[in-house]
């Protein structure tokens, strides 16, 4: 069923009786050409592009819960391509271009809103770094505009420009940056993959990975054994557990990242604002809630909830930057489990086991990567070769020293 304005109108006239489920609920077959473990954003987009770009339709996505039940179902929804280093720059640029065509591609409203992202800076040194970053973004073919203090004030008049702790020197505006509706991305890719014949199998937890003579042959699941010559592990948040089934130890440490949303307010914040010095960022959802967050709790965790010290820190940073939000009531907070890699960049690569591929290590930035991650993981699984824009996301880069350390802080687990 194709969605359109006309369809909404006619369904409305006839009691909305014609709507059908957006995807099937098939039982697993005994064998597929390829299996993707993980029915989140990255897994579903991988399945979609395997079917669309590579014609592989005898494939299955195995999800232990329901589709989109992980971080794609709850995050702070920022979409941007403002990276500096080669490796990241071309990848996120590709992802943003896919975002820009995603709604017509999927025939699904993902509410992609390019409202502009402003990263604030607070010193001469930081300004220099942002000038370099902006130049790198322009060289990559994306957009960046350096704003001075008065330029920021024109866009964001409500910030506290008089604060003494982190005086605002200016900001880097990325006009094509913005937000999207997180869960719609999962639904759009799921529907698109299903329409191309992909089996989306829910409540099907992988309990083992079958390997014979160094080659993957299939998986064991709570719904029986399934054979496949190619298996992709796309399970950020649980990557270490799934990889352990194949005898692998990954360069991943899981951390909890908290985020917050207030009650719905009238439109007040037009942009995505990041205040790096205070570890704070914020946007306003289309429902009116202020969506904001800060840094990791900074200890290994799978608890999907954080501790109060970081909540206090985020609130303090928000009040420092924009005291006007002090009267807004926080509706809820939550914690998501992040695959943290030593250098803060992801991994899309083969593993030492033939036919077994891994897509993990998305740190706190996996949402904007969903289209390109699926695109590149599908390319890797179908052709056996890394896609040109993801070729630096190697699993062995920590051993070889080819790290992608965007923050410039080092390549060790406690640094990102």
């Amino acid at each position: 069923m194709r969605y359109s304005g006309l369809r909404v109108l006619t369904e409305g006239l006839f009691g909305n009786k014609g709507w059908k489920p957006a995807w099937r609920d098939p039982a697993p077959k005994a064998q597929y050409d390829a299996i993707i473990i993980g029915g989140g954003g990255h897994g579903l987009s991988t399945a979609y592009y395997l079917a669309k770009n590579h014609g592989l339709t005898n494939i299955a996505v195995l999800e232990k819960g329901y589709l989109g039940s992980g971080n794609i179902g709850r995050n702070t929804t920022i979409v941007r391509a403002n990276y500096f280093l080669q490796g990241n720059s071309e990848f996120y640029s590709h992802s943003l271009k896919l975002w820009e065509g995603l709604e017509s591609e999927l025939n699904y409203n993902v509410m992609h809103s390019q409202r502009g992202l402003i990263n604030l800076f607070h010193s001469d040194g930081q300004r220099d770094a942002f000038v370099r970053r902006g130049n790198a973004m322009i060289n990559q073919g994306d957009d960046a505009i350096l704003l001075d203090r008065e330029g920021v004030r024109r866009h964001l008049p409500y910030l506290d420009f008089e604060q003494t702790r982190f005086p605002i020197y200016g900001g880097l505006l990325h006009p094509r940056g913005g937000t999207a509706r997180h869960d719609a991305v999962a639904w759009g890719y799921a529907r698109g993959a299903d329409r191309r014949g992909v089996d989306l199998i829910q409540n099907c937890e992988v309990t083992g990975i079958d390997i014979e003579n160094g080659r993957v042959t299939g998986v064991q699941t709570t719904r029986g054994a399934i054979r496949a010559k190619k298996v992709g592990m796309v399970v950020a948040g649980r990557s270490s557990q799934v990889a352990a089934m194949a005898g692998m130890r990954l360069p991943i440490e899981s951390h909890v990242l908290q985020a917050f949303v207030t009650e719905g307010l009238k439109p007040v914040i037009d942009h995505v604002i990041s205040f790096g010095m205070g570890h704070f960022y914020m946007s306003q959802s289309d429902k009116g809630g202020l969506v904001f967050g800060g840094d990791l709790d900074f200890y290994a965790s799978y608890a999907a909830r954080g501790n109060l010290p970081i909540i206090e820190h985020v609130m303090e940073a928000g009040m420092t930057l924009m005291p006007m939000i002090g009267r807004a009531k926080v509706l809820r907070s939550w914690g998501g489990i992040m695959d943290m890699s030593p250098d803060g960049s992801p991994i899309i690569d083969k593993t030492p086991i033939d036919g077994l591929f891994v897509d993990c290590g998305w740190n706190y930035g996996g949402f904007k990567a969903v289209p390109a991650s699926g695109w590149c993981m599908a390319h890797l699984m179908a052709t056996g070769e890394s896609h040109p824009v993801a070729r630096r996301f190697r699993l062995d880069r920590f051993a070889t020293g080819h790290v992608i350390d965007e923050e410039g802080t080092g390549s060790q687990h406690n640094l990102h």
Binding site: R238, S240, Q241, A244, R249, L250, P251, I252, E253, S254, F298, Y299, A300, S301, Y302, A303, R305, N307, P309, P342, F398, A399, S411, Q412, H413, N414
Partner: protein, 87 residues
């Protein structure tokens, strides 16, 4: 979260700085192969459940090995890294 320091007693999590898995306390020999150093620095079991990791107690300067659960945030106990004879 409250963490027991073997020297100071149970204190607020804010008094501690997290370092990482206790793997960091088990350094390979200086002439160990590169693979051993890669494992030591980067690769992790990353358990969902009981774990032992290293925290620094800022007020007293002790390196503390904390026994806790990553799935529940329960803290079961701790000991001093120094008493194991390793840094």
């Amino acid at each position: 979260m409250r963490i027991p320091c073997p020297l100071c007693g149970t204190r607020d999590r804010r008094e501690f700085t997290y370092y990482g898995s206790e793997d960091y306390a088990n350094r390979p020999a200086a002439d160990a192969p590169a693979q051993a150093w890669d494992d030591h620095l980067h690769n992790r079991d990353n358990p969902c459940g009981p774990t032992r990791d290293l925290w620094y107690h800022d007020p007293c300067g002790a390196w503390v090995r904390v026994h806790r659960d990553t799935a529940t945030h329960a803290v079961h106990g701790s000991d001093l890294v120094a008493e194991r004879g390793q840094a």
